[in-house]
Symmetry: C2
Subunit: 163 residues, 2 copies
């Protein structure tokens, strides 16, 4: 089966094999995300997005980031992040702080309780990545995977893989 | 930098290279999803999840699926799908139908308007996959990608790739 695409003046066919690779990629990502999230929820009552927020804050100077920068890093919309930080603040894991030198600036800051919860949850998260991703692929496949991802979306500065 | 994981009795290290591959994979999936969704929203006022629902229905016998089966195929929670189908029904793209022979059964059915909207949006969707995924990788890389995805998550029956 071949799907024919008419796009402006050009016609290009997408084979069913190509479409299948794409659908497999979508499914793989959703499934691995679900598996990781289930473990984090069951063992630590943390959603995956919450885990990502705590991780990004813990890796930042003074454990704080501007809300806009944090939204970029965890790949959430600004409104989605606002709701998530509301919840994390209610749970005592994150605080908001105004920036003294910048009226526009609003920071999210990791609390000590947030740091403890993150440290507790990290072994679960890393065990999940190992079991469902890293251990399934061999070293050569991981290198192939990294090379393809680098072609698809060049890594941000500071996160390039060694060649 | 090496992150050390303590998981039960075993200790396993995850290298920063491994963690980076994982983070790249997460980002690649989110970014490509965003790019595809933006095109679909701008050109056809369709969210990506809506496009997926219309596609699954159009590929099913009599253009209909039980809500539970549809939720599995588009990888949404049952409650998330219910809200999405509410919206698609308001827009006239999908109808709900009770199943005569099965009191538990509730179907989602693609309407003629839904089929037309799907047909209009499909070139945009396929053009996006081609530009941001298929054309970036060469044929060998696509085969590597498929092989890795098959290892990570074996494809459902009927969607296996030819060897």
């Amino acid at each position: 089966m071949t799907v024919t695409v008419t796009a402006g003046e050009s016609r290009e066919a997408i084979s069913s094999e190509e479409l299948t690779v794409w659908r497999m990629l979508q499914r793989a990502q959703v499934r691995i995300t679900r598996v990781l999230e289930t473990d984090l929820l069951v063992e630590h009552d943390l959603a995956l997005a919450s885990y990502d927020v705590l991780t990004q804050l813990s890796e930042s100077p003074d454990r704080r980031l501007r809300m806009n920068d944090l939204a970029d890093r965890v790949l959430l919309s600004r409104s989605g992040l606002t709701r998530l930080v509301d919840r994390l603040q209610r749970d005592g894991l994150v605080e908001r702080e105004a920036c003294a030198s910048d009226a526009r600036g609003l920071f999210a800051v990791l609390t000590d309780d947030g740091a403890v919860r993150l440290a507790e949850a990290t072994p679960t998260y890393l065990r999940g990545i190992r079991a469902h991703f890293l251990d399934v692929l061999d070293a050569g496949e991981l290198r192939q995977c990294a090379a393809m991802l680098n072609k698809l979306f060049p890594a941000p500065a500071g996160e390039e893989l060694p060649a």
